[in-house]
Amino acid sequence: MAPEKEPILELRNVSKSYGSVRALSDVSFKAYAGEVIGLVGDNGAGKSSLIKTISGVHSPDAGEIFVDGVQRHWRSPHDSMAAGIETLYQDSGLAPDLTIGSNIFLGREVKKRGPLGRLGFLDQRTMERRALVELDKVGITVPPSKRTVSQLSGGQRQAVAIGRAVMWAKHVIILDEPTNHLGARQSQEVLKVIRAAREQGICVLFISHTLPHVLEVTDRIIVLRLGRVVRDSLTTDYTVESLLGTITGLNS
C-alpha cells in the first residue's frame, strides 16, 4: 500500500436502500493496486449490497464510485467488467462440465481466424494453451489435458475460478466467500492464488466470515456494521478478539 498513489477504486459516501431498509449508509473507502482488502461484517451488515454496488448489479442511490481516477456509473455488470473489475460470486463459479480452458474463456471465446471464426467456430487449442499459461502466472498448475472442471478437487476448482478472475481483471477482483466449504489445505491453495494476484498489482476485495483467513491474507480490513464502515485499519492493527469485537459491536 502506498497512500501517495492514486487509488484504483474509490467509493465516496455510497448509500443504498431497499425499500425502507437502509443497506449502505455513506460508505467511503479507497483501495490501491496490489492491495488485499478484507471486507467483513455480520450477516446483514451490507457486505453483499456493497459487492453488488461495486460490480454493477445495483446502482447506488447516492454517492460516487471511481475506478482508476474516473467516476463511473454502472448500468449493468458488463460495465464494471469492461472497467476492469471481476467478481466471483459464491454461486457463480465455473461450469463443471466444461474443460478448464473453456471455463477460463467462457463468454470471451477465442474464435478461429478467417471466415470460420466469423461463423463462430472456436479456436479451442489456443484457449487451452493460453489458459494453462495464465493460470501458471498465478501459481496454479493444472494437468494439460481435456479434463473437465468436475474432475478437479474443490480447492483446485476455486483456484481456477479465481485465476480466471485475475486473468480478466485489469484492476480489481471481488471474491465473495472464496474459502467457504473448503478444507484447510484447499483454503491455503486459494489464499496462495490471492497472494499471487496481489503480486500482479491487482486489488483484491476479500469477503469472508472466516476471520483467520482474513487476518492471514489481507493488508487492510474494512469492517461493516449495519451498512456503515465502522473501522478501516491495517490488518496488523487487529487481533482476532478486536476484529470480532468490532464486527459485533460488543467491545469498547
Binding site: S92, A95, P96, V142
Partner: protein, 341 residues
C-alpha cells in the same frame, strides 16, 4: 514453487501410449461401446434373417433412422442446455397437417409438385418454430419449468393437429411418396438432407460459441450468466430451433406418407429422449455428444425395425426399447466419469 498440487489420480501421466492402455481406454469409451452394441444388434438380426443386410431393407432402415435422428438431435440441444422438450411429437403432427393443407391448396391452384413441396417445407418449419416460440415464451418469460411448458404445447399441439385435420389424413400425394424411396444407393434424398442437417448441427454444437454456451448453461446457468452470456435469449433460441426441426420432421413424414396425418409423430418425444439418454447425455444438462445421440437413434431404430423383421410381435418393441434405456441409464450412474450433483 508456489504451485497448487494436483492430487487428481496421478493425472500427469495420462498420455502414456502403451497399446494395451489404448485398448483399455477404448473399452472405457462410451461411444465405442455404443458402436459395439450397434454392430452386435445388426449381426444378431442378420443371423436370424440374412435379408436384413439387403439394400432395400437398409434404405428403409435409414429413412426411419433419419426421421428419428432429426428429432433426437433437436432434443439433444434442449437436453444439453438443461431443459427438455416434450412437445416435439405433437409439433410433428400439427406442422405436418398444416403443411399438407398448404400443399393441397397450392396444388389445387395448379402449382407444380416441387414448388408446392418447397412452400410446404417452409410452412412446416414455420409452424414448428411457432410452437417453439410458445415454449420459449412460457419458459423464459412466464418462468415455467421446461417440463411443464412443453407439456402444455404437447397437449395443445396434439389437439390442434386433430382440429385442423378433423381427424383424417390431409392430402394424397403419391408423387411425393415415391421420392422417399429414390436417392443414391442406400441413402434416399431425404436421408441425405437429414445427414447434412445433422452434420451442420454437430459442428454447431461441438465447435462454435453457440454450442459452447449451450453446454455452459446446462452445466451451471449462474456461471454462464456471470460470464456475460444472455442465458434467456440462448434458451429461447434452443426451443425455437427444436420446434423448427420438429416441423421439418413433419414435412419429412408428409413426403414419406404422401400426406399429413394428425397421429403422425405422436409419442416421438419419448423415442427422441430415449435415444439421447442411450447416447450418453445427462438429463440434468451440460453433457452429451451428437455422435452418441446418432448412435442411440441407430440402435433404437435397428432394434425396432429388426424385431419386426424377425417376426417378433410388435407388442414387444417397447419392452425391448425399455430394456435398452434402463441398461444405458444404469451404466451412466456407475461409470466413473460421471459427476455427482
Amino acid at each position: 514453487m508456489s504451485t497448487v498440487q494436483t492430487p487428481v489420480g496421478s493425472g500427469e501421466e495420462t498420455p502414456v501410449t502403451s497399446p494395451w492402455r489404448r485398448v483399455l481406454g477404448l473399452v472405457g469409451n462410451q461411444q465405442f461401446i455404443l458402436l459395439l452394441v450397434l454392430v452386435a444388434v445388426m449381426i444378431y438380426f442378420d443371423f436370424h434373417n440374412s435379408r436384413f443386410f439387403s439394400v432395400s431393407e437398409f434404405q428403409n432402415l435409414i429413412v426411419d433412422l433419419s426421421a428419428a435422428a432429426l428429432v433426437a438431435v433437436a432434443e439433444l440441444f434442449v437436453i444439453v442446455s438443461g431443459g427438455i422438450d416434450l412437445s416435439v411429437g405433437s409439433t410433428i403432427a400439427v406442422s405436418g397437417v398444416v403443411g399438407a393443407q398448404a400443399i393441397v391448396h397450392l396444388q389445387s391452384h395448379h402449382f407444380g409438385e416441387l414448388p408446392s413441396l418447397l412452400v410446404g417445407t417452409v410452412v412446416c418449419a414455420g409452424v414448428g418454430a411457432l410452437v417453439g416460440t410458445v415454449n420459449a415464451v412460457l419458459i423464459t418469460k412466464a418462468n415455467l419449468v421446461p417440463f411443464v411448458a412443453t407439456l402444455v404445447t404437447l397437449s395443445a399441439g396434439a389437439g390442434l393437429a386433430l382440429f385442423f385435420s378433423q381427424g383424417a389424413q390431409i392430402g394424397y400425394d403419391p408423387v411425393a411418396a415415391t421420392w422417399s424411396s429414390t436417392g443414391f444407393w442406400i441413402f434416399t434424398w431425404q436421408a441425405l438432407i437429414v445427414l447434412v442437417i445433422v452434420g451442420v448441427l454437430g459442428l454447431v454444437l461441438h465447435f462454435t460459441s453457440y454450442g459452447r454456451y449451450n453446454y455452459a448453461i446446462g452445466s451451471n446457468p449462474f456461471a454462464a450468466r456471470a460470464a456475460g452470456i444472455n442465458v434467456n435469449r440462448h434458451v429461447a433460441s434452443v426451443y425455437v430451433m427444436s420446434g423448427m426441426l420438429a416441423g421439418l420432421t413433419g414435412m419429412f413424414f408428409y413426403i414419406r406418407i404422401g400426406g399429413g396425418a394428425p397421429q403422425t409423430g405422436i409419442g416421438t418425444e419419448l423415442e427422441a429422449i430415449a435415444a439421447v439418454v442411450i447416447g450418453g447425455a445427462s438429463l440434468v444438462g451440460g453433457v452429451g455428444l451428437i455422435s452418441g445421440t446418432v448412435l442411440g437413434v441407430a440402435i433404437l431404430t435397428v432394434v425396432t425395425d429388426g424385431l419386426v423383421f424377425i417376426n417378433v410381435s410388435t407388442y414387444w418393441n417397447q419392452v425391448v426399447v425399455a430394456a435398452f434405456i434402463a441398461v444405458a441409464a444404469i451404466l451412466q450412474t456407475v461409470s466413473p466419469g460421471t459427476r455427482k450433483r
